[in-house]
Point group: none
Chain length 297, copies 2
DNA sequence: AAGAGTTTGAAATCATTTTAACATAACGGC
DNA sequence: GCCGTTATGTTAAAATGATTTCAAACTCTT
C-alpha cells in the first residue's frame, strides 16, 4: 500500500472534513487506544457518529472500519516487536532449516550494520544527495539489483538520476563524462569488488563531485575514493552473498531523503497515487489495496 | 481479574485441561497476537473449538471472552507505553536518526517472515525449482530489482531462466507463451499488487506449470493463483515499502537451491571463478579476492 | 471393559458491531 | 437569503462474533 497509515493520514489531512479531522488527529495521537475501540466508541470519544468513523475508514482507502482497525493493530504489533528485539531468535535452530538460518543471519547482518555504519557519514550523504543536481548510481552484477531499486525510488523524487550498469569501461565513461561539481555519485560494490566502481568514483571526485560508497568494510578498495562511506555487511556462510543489509541501508537512505524533502515529495506522491488508481496498474483486490489481514495458516 | 493475567495463568496451569493448556501456552508465548484474535480464530490457531476458548476465559475468572481479550489488550498497551518511553529517549539522541529506526524495522520484518512463512511451502518451492526445465521470474516496478537479483544467481545455476519485467500485457505473453508443465513461475508482487502477476501465474497454471508466489500476506491476490506461497512482510512506517524481508527470503531460496544441487553447481562456480580471475573484472585488492578483513574503526 | 464423570466440538442462539439507507443539518456560492 | 452540494446523524438491517446447549468422545476408576 505504498504509504503507511500515519503517513497517509498526514498526506490526506487537508482533504478531510471537520469531523474526519477530529478522528485523524485522535488516531495520530492515540492510535494505541484507537486500535482497540469499536467504530461507535471511537466516534463517541472524538464526538462524531459511528457513520462518520466508518466513512473515514473508507475515505482512507480501507474496505470498512474493521480493516482500518486491523491496520492500527498491525502498527502496534510492529512497534511492540521492534523493542522486544533484545530476545532475537538468533538461534541456529536446525541444520536442515535453511530458511530460518538464512533469515537469522540476515538479521545479524543488519544489526552489525547499525553498529558499524557511521551516522555522520550517513547524514552527510543524505545532505549531499538532496543538494545534488544530478545523481549517478553505480552498481554492476548482483549489486545492479539494489542499485536499480535505489534508482527506482530516487526517480520518483529527483529529476536527474542516472544508473550506471555496464560491463565496459568505455561505456561507463560515456555515462559519466558530463559530471560536474554539483553532482553526486553513489557507488555500490561488494566483494569481489568492481574495478570500474573505483574508477568511476575517482573520476567523479576529479570533477569535484561528492562520492558516496556503499560497501562492506573499511578495507574495501572504494573507501579511499569516497567522501562518505556507508558500511553494510554482505558475507554469508554460503556461495551467494547477501545484499539484505545493503538494501536495508539503501532503504534508510531513501526514507531519510524523503523526510528531508517532505514538502516537495508528498505532492508528487499524491499525484502518483491518483495516476495509479486511474490507470489501474494494480489489482483492486478487495478494496483498492490496503492492509491484508492476518494470515491464517 | 484480581491478579495479573500471566501470573494467574501460570498459577492455574496445572488445573487446566489439555485443550485449555494449549490456549494458555499460546497466550503466554504470543499474547501480542492473541489479543487481536476472535475466540474462533484463537481456537483455530491452537487447534481447539471456540467453545473451549470461551470456557477458558470464564475458567480464568473473566466474565466472557471479550473480558479476557480486554485484559490482553491492556497488557499490550502497558508494554507499549513503556516501549514508547524508551523510544523517546533513544530518539532524543538523534531526532533524525532514521538509520537505526529503518534498520530496526527491517529486522522486525525479517523476524515476522520467519514466523509467517510456511516451511512446507518453502521446501516445496525449492523442490519444484530444482526439477523445473525453465524458470520464469516475474517482477515489475520496485520488485523488478529483487527479481533481477534472483535471476542473477539462478542464471549461474540453471540454463533456462527468463525474467519477465514489462509494462505491457502483450509483451508479457510473448515471454511466457511457450510455457509447459515442466516449467515453473516465480511471481513477486507486493502492494499495490500487479494485475499482470496474477495473469501470468494463472496462465502458467493453465499450462500445468508450478506457480510460486512471493507476496506479503495470505490476502494477496496472488495467493489463489499459486501452488506455493511464500510470505514476507513489506510494509514500513514510511512512504517507501521495504523489500528487505522479501530479499532475505529470496536469499534463502537461492541458498537452499544451491545446497540441493550442490554437485552440479560447485563445478560451475569453480569454472566461473577462473573466468573472473582471468578477465580481471574485479580488483585484486589485498589477496586475489574474497572476504575482506574486519574493519578497524 | 462398563460406567460415571469430564472434556470437547458442532450447531443453534444470542449479543454486539458494522454498514447502508434515509433524513436532516451545515456550508458555500450567488 | 435561497439553493445545490456536501457532511453528518439516526435507525434498521446485515454481518460478525460470543455463548449456550447437547450429544459424542474421551478418561479414569473399579
Amino acid at each position: 500500500m505504498i504509504t503507511h497509515l500515519l503517513t497517509r493520514i498526514d498526506l490526506m489531512m487537508n482533504t478531510f472534513s471537520k469531523g474526519q479531522k477530529r478522528i485523524a488527529l485522535f488516531i495520530e495521537e492515540h492510535y494505541d487506544k484507537a486500535a482497540f475501540m469499536t467504530a461507535a466508541k471511537l466516534g463517541e470519544t472524538v464526538g462524531v457518529s459511528e457513520s462518520t468513523v466508518v466513512r473515514f475508514a473508507s475515505e482512507l482507502g480501507y474496505d470498512g472500519y474493521p480493516k482500518l482497525q486491523k491496520a492500527m493493530q498491525e502498527m502496534i504489533r510492529n512497534k511492540l516487536t521492534s523493542v522486544q528485539r533484545i530476545e532475537v531468535t538468533s538461534s541456529r535452530i536446525g541444520e536442515n532449516n535453511v530458511l530460518d538460518s538464512v533469515l537469522g543471519q540476515d538479521i545479524d547482518k543488519i544489526r552489525r550494520t547499525i553498529e558499524e555504519t557511521s551516522h555522520e557519514d550517513f547524514n552527510r550523504a543524505v545532505d549531499e544527495i538532496c543538494k545534488a543536481k544530478r545523481i549517478y548510481i553505480f552498481g554492476v552484477r548482483s549489486t545492479a539489483a539494489i542499485a536499480s531499486f535505489l534508482a527506482y525510488y530516487f526517480q520518483l523524487i529527483f529529476d536527474n538520476v542516472v544508473v550506471i550498469n555496464t560491463t565496459s569501461t568505455t561505456t561507463m565513461y560515456e555515462h559519466i563524462f558530463r559530471m560536474s561539481e554539483d553532482d553526486i555519485i553513489i557507488g555500490i560494490s561488494f566483494p569481489r569488488y568492481s574495478k570500474m566502481a573505483v574508477e568511476a568514483m575517482d573520476f567523479a571526485r576529479s570533477r569535484g563531485a561528492h562520492a558516496v560508497a556503499i560497501t562492506d568494510s573499511m578495507a574495501s578498495p572504494l573507501v579511499s575514493s569516497a567522501d562518505s562511506i556507508l558500511i553494510a555487511r554482505s558475507d554469508m556462510a554460503s556461495i551467494v552473498d547477501s545484499l539484505v543489509a545493503p538494501l536495508s541501508l539503501i532503504n534508510a537512505l531513501i526514507v531519510a531523503t524523503v523526510l528531508k524533502k517532505k514538502d516537495e515529495v508528498s505532492e508528487t506522491f499524491r499525484a502518483l497515487e491518483q495516476v495509479w488508481n486511474r490507470e489501474g496498474v494494480y489489482t483492486n483486490h478487495d478494496s483498492d489495496d490496503r492492509k491484508p489481514e492476518e494470515n491464517d495458516r
